[in-house]
Amino acid sequence: MLGLLHSLEIAVGATCVGLLIGICGAYGKLYGGPVVRDLLAVYTTIVRAVPELVLILLLYYAGTDLINQVLTAMGYQRIDISGLVAGIAVLGFVQGAYSTEVMRGAILAIPQGQIEAARAYGMSPGLLLRRITLPAMLPFAIPGLANLWLIATKDTALLAVVGFFELTLATRQAAGVTKAYLIFYLAAGVLYLAVSLFSNLMLGRLEAWSRRGMPSVKDAR
């Protein structure tokens, strides 16, 4: 149960970090200068082409090592980065690449006139983002983001490989101690499935809420 809690903590944290990176990345890709755009293209391409497991190993070791080296170079003591923070950061970095692409598509799907109208009203860019772009892109982005959330909950299992104590590793240890392998793995599978189905339900509601006021496609036929 502690394992499940850890898994969920990481999934939520990673999705939040990923969303933040995604919004910034999508804005950079759409409105940024040529250098920013190319760098972001490299980032999303590389992260999406390399297996998550390899990325997690690379970032997990490289990230903690890099921070410690910078700290020692600046004269501070080495710190122990907790698995939780490192896991959130690594998965968030991976999720960010995917959500950048989702958000870019969603922003492009907003009718251009809405953004132009907001600019004509003299809205500042921050206000424009908060009042127009984010709410208007939500119905287009939610199906993709829902997929990403489900992937995030399942990617937390990969952190078992670097030795972080979450549901899959907890299951493995419990199964190893009691020798009842099948039962423990089935139970963990049921827990993951329950999380997935529950989030499906909630995300369906969220999508219906974000689409409020929009005409249904079914009536158009």
Binding site: P34, V35, D38, L39, I46, A49, V50, P51, E52, L53, V54, L55, L57, L58, Y61, A62, D65, L150, K154, D155, T156, A157, L158, A160, V161, T168, T171, R172, A175, K179, Y181, L182, Y185, L186, A188, G189, Y192, L193, S196, L197
Partner: protein, 269 residues
């Protein structure tokens, strides 16, 4: 004349692509790669060269086998969901939900540690011809990856089968084709064309999940890099090379599927 025009066109496109900032970025990237080559340790490469090639070969082999088998399972699963009666579509739907709702790592460990620990308890399994295979790790890895691919691809095929226009099937029936012939000549090819772009993505995803089999002691390219890391105490060099290898394979896959996609008639439906 025409060739001259294309050459000019190509030059124009290249100059458009090679803007000044891109040249600077490429130089920076080259500098990073060169510094990686010169300042990091690569002297372990010749020693593990053959092992690495074997690992790459094994990864590709697992990828091809699981994709082919998984697609064979995915076709009936998708068909059952798209057109089957309740007794066919319900199990297929449950299968897809379970596969897509649980992590692949958990499925893999469930099969390997869970099922694998059950088999030795039965003497008749130990004596049967299957035992030499069941004792090894790779059948479990292939089985788990196949089922996972079938689960995801079954969902894609459901949409593809449902997306074939009804008129096409009615026309085929009007021609007096048998049901099997309709499926073989009309329904399956058109559904396959529709699913092809998604199939590319699924294959790349499948490639990215092959390193998981290393956790149940199958020696693929990922396991080789872990061994290098354990033997030489190097952290980054094997992982960076590994990432490069996977990126190359992904690039080749995407390119090949792009070629196949360009070959199919794009006026469908």
């Amino acid at each position: 004349m025409a060739s001259e025009a294309t050459v000019i066109n190509m030059v124009a496109r290249t100059s458009l692509w090679l803007q000044p900032h891109r040249i600077v970025l490429i130089l920076v990237a080259l500098g990073l790669v060169l510094s990686a080559v010169f300042f990091m340790r690569w002297d372990w490469l010749p020693q593990y060269y053959e092992m690495g090639l074997l690992g790459i070969w094994r990864s590709l082999w697992i990828l091809a086998l699981t994709c082919a088998l998984g697609f064979l399972i995915a076709v009936p699963v998708g068909l059952a969901q798209a057109a089957g009666s309740f007794w066919f579509s319900a199990p297929a739907k449950v299968f897809c939900t379970i596969i897509r709702g649980t992590p692949l790592l958990l499925q893999l460990w469930l099969l390997y540690y869970g099922l694998g620990s059950l088999f030795p308890q039965y003497p008749w399994i130990r004596e049967s011809w299957m035992w030499p295979y069941l004792r090894q790790a790779w059948p479990y890895g292939v089985l788990a990856l196949t089922l996972s691919f079938a689960g995801y691809e079954g969902e894609v095929m459901r949409g593809a089968f449902a997306g074939v226009p009804k008129g096409q099937l009615e026309a085929a029936r009007a021609f007096g084709m048998s049901r099997w012939k309709i499926f073989r000549r009309i329904w399956l090819p058109q559904a396959f064309y529709r699913a092809l772009p998604t199939l590319t993505g699924e294959t790349v995803l499948q490639l990215k999940s092959t390193p998981l089999v290393a956790t149940i002691s199958v020696i693929d390219i990922f396991a080789v890099s872990s061994k290098v890391r354990q033997d030489t105490y190097l952290t980054y060099e094997p992982l960076l090379l590994l990432a490069l290898i996977y990126m190359t394979i992904t690039g080749i896959l995407v390119f090949t599927f792009g070629k196949i996609e360009a070959r199919i008639p794009n006026k469908i439906g």
